[in-house]
């Protein structure tokens, strides 16, 4: 299991496009940018809808079974290199990309927490958890899904 407790992560610096995402994460809610014209969820945030070029975008909660963050591992890497000493204690660790059930096409980065890094596989079911970094920033993170997915 990767040792995360000694890791000092770079802290996200929200901007005009991204602030609602971090405000929601602080409340323990996963909100993504959603096109008000075609309904598409996207991440990372962008100036226009990546599907229909509309500019009317709002952050909305992504809900699934009332949890708001069930999905699958879309891709991952296991990091062994210790170029950045702040992450050295966690090596080897799994950095994963997650596609949420209710936001296909939106790709969220995270780490696979509460499991050996060898559990990271494309297609594994995961669910969001929230990791508080400081009073302003809470990181959405992922662990293996505990509930079976709804059919």
């Amino acid at each position: 299991m990767s040792e995360w407790s000694k890791v000092t992560r770079p802290i996200p610096a929200p901007n005009e496009w991204t602030k609602p995402f971090w405000d929601a994460a602080k409340r323990g809610v996963l909100e993504l940018q959603r096109c008000q014209s075609c309904g598409h969820f996207q991440h990372p945030p962008y100036a226009t809808c990546v599907k229909c070029i509309a500019t009317d975008l709002k952050f909305e909660a992504v809900r699934h079974d009332g949890v708001g963050g069930a999905g699958t591992i879309y891709a991952y890497t296991i990091m062994y290199h210790t170029g950045d000493k702040r992450f050295a204690s966690a090596v080897p660790y799994a950095s994963i990309i997650v596609e949420l059930d209710d936001a296909p096409g939106a790709l969220l980065a995270g780490n696979l927490l509460e499991a050996p890094y060898t559990e990271a596989k494309v297609g594994r079911r995961v669910e969001v958890v929230f990791e508080k970094l400081n009073d302003d920033i809470t990181l959405p993170q992922f662990r293996l899904a505990r509930a079976t997915p709804a059919e």
Binding site: V7, R9, P10, I11, P12, A13, P14, N15, T18, Q42, H43, P44, Y46, V50, Y74, A75, Y76, T77, I78, M79, Y80, H81, G83, D84, R86, F87, A90, P92, Y93, S95, I96, I97, L107, L108, A109, G110, N111, K121, V122, G123, L133, L139, Q141
Partner: protein, 394 residues
């Protein structure tokens, strides 16, 4: 077909010494490469009237200092003091292949006669790819907090998706690393010239960012390479046999920065670029005698082979087996050793090798009867420029 096919040629190539660390300022490397390329073409420096480059330092978290960590057009202009200089450009979106394409356009437009393009790469002290400091700005705010640093990890995540979706194993990549290292032994300019690599070396090497081990990553070096381009009619008056440009293309697809792990970004980037090159040249993948495909990270070759149309998606690691990419194989690949053999000089060296093979100037690594020479000069995701050179104009 493109009405301008075979109207521009590469007539000279040049190399600086490639070293692991920065012993002399990068500008000196670039100057050596440019002077060599001009001499190779049989020209004088004063004949050069066009300059183009892509100067970016891909290492993150290091300062760009002109002449030391990058060599811009301004820097080259200051050094050379060219009496007849009439055109220059520095490109942004398309990497070094775009600088070559702009030089081609300038020659076709008649605004210069002999253009030089160089790529100079610096290896900074310390860690090559640094995560941001205390705060992660811009697109990195969604990746760096999770330990995603440089492009290696970005490419590694797409590679796991490719491997697991297609039920493939990373061990098959040993063939690429070992074959390219063998090609490297025919290229005295390469960093790993004189250093062999075995399949066991590859399979036992330390993991960097799974699925990438050490030998899936090109080694950061200090060095420069350069070419001279001119119009076909002028090229025919020069001593080296010209390598005629039959067609080129550039990526027409881009996904939002920070959206890492997406395979479509690679596949659509590569296929959109190659489609232009196939259409303009009139050739198709089966016509190609020799190919150079950018390999800064080994998986780039997979995305290149598949998106350019050399093999079906999901099959590239099988495609490279059984001697197919050897110098006498069906598709000799990265015959100069690739970036994995030369060190990290980006794609201009791929373009150089494509030209040398087309013009029969590749020495002991020359592919027999090579005429149609394909180049994918950068990873399809970022920049995705493609080229075909031929020895016989048509």
């Amino acid at each position: 077909m493109w009405e301008n096919r075979c109207k521009v040629a590469i007539s000279g190539v040049g190399f600086s010494k490639v070293t692991r660390s920065a012993e002399i300022p990068l500008a000196a490397h670039a100057l050596t490469a440019v002077k060599e390329a001009v001499a190779d073409a049989g020209l004088q420096l004063s004949d050069i009237d066009g300059l183009a480059t892509y100067p970016e330092l891909p290492a993150t978290g290091h300062a760009e200092v002109d002449g030391i960590s990058i060599v811009s057009v301004n820097c080259m202009m200051t050094m050379l003091k060219l009496p007849d200089l009439s055109w220059h450009i520095q490109v942004g979106t398309t990497n070094i292949g775009g600088a070559v394409q702009q030089a081609v356009n300038a020659l076709l437009a008649g605004v210069c006669k002999y253009a030089v393009v160089w790529r100079a790469m610096h290896n900074p002290r310390g860690t090559y790819q640094n995560l941001p400091g205390a705060y992660a700005q811009g697109a990195a705010q969604f990746t760096a907090p999770y330990g995603f640093g440089g492009p290696g990890q970005g490419m590694a995540v797409a590679y796991t998706r490719w491997l697991e979706r297609h039920n493939q194993s990373r061990e098959k990549m040993a063939t690429l690393a070992v074959t390219q290292r063998r090609h490297t032994q025919h290229n005295p300019h390469a960093y790993f010239y004189g250093t062999p690599l075995t399949r066991e070396d590859y399979l036992n090497s330390r993991m960097v960012a799974y699925p990438f081990c050490l030998f899936d990553c090109d080694i950061p070096v200090q060095g420069a390479v350069a070419i001279v381009l001119t119009t076909a009619d002028r090229a025919r008056d020069l001593q080296p046999r010209p390598a005629y440009l039959a067609g080129y293309g550039q990526r027409l697809h881009f996904e939002v920065a920070g959206r890492i792990g997406s395979l479509s970004n690679y596949m659509e980037g590569g296929s959109s670029s190659a489609k232009l090159t196939w259409e303009r040249s009139g050739f198709s993948p089966k016509d190609v005698n020799v190919a150079q495909i950018y390999d800064g990270f080994s998986a780039s070759v997979i995305y290149g082979l598949e998106s350019y149309g050399f093999c079906k998606e999901g099959t590239a690691l099988d495609f490279i087996q059984d001697g197919r990419i050897e110098l006498d194989g069906e598709l000799p690949l990265n015959t100069f050793g690739g970036s994995l053999g030369t060190g990290r000089i980006h794609g201009l060296w791929h373009i150089i090798e494509g030209a040398l093979q087309a013009s029969g100037r590749a020495g002991s690594r020359q592919v027999k009867d090579a005429n149609v020479s394909f180049v994918g000069a950068s990873a399809p995701i970022v920049t995705g420029t493609t080229f075909i050179f031929v020895g016989d104009p048509y």
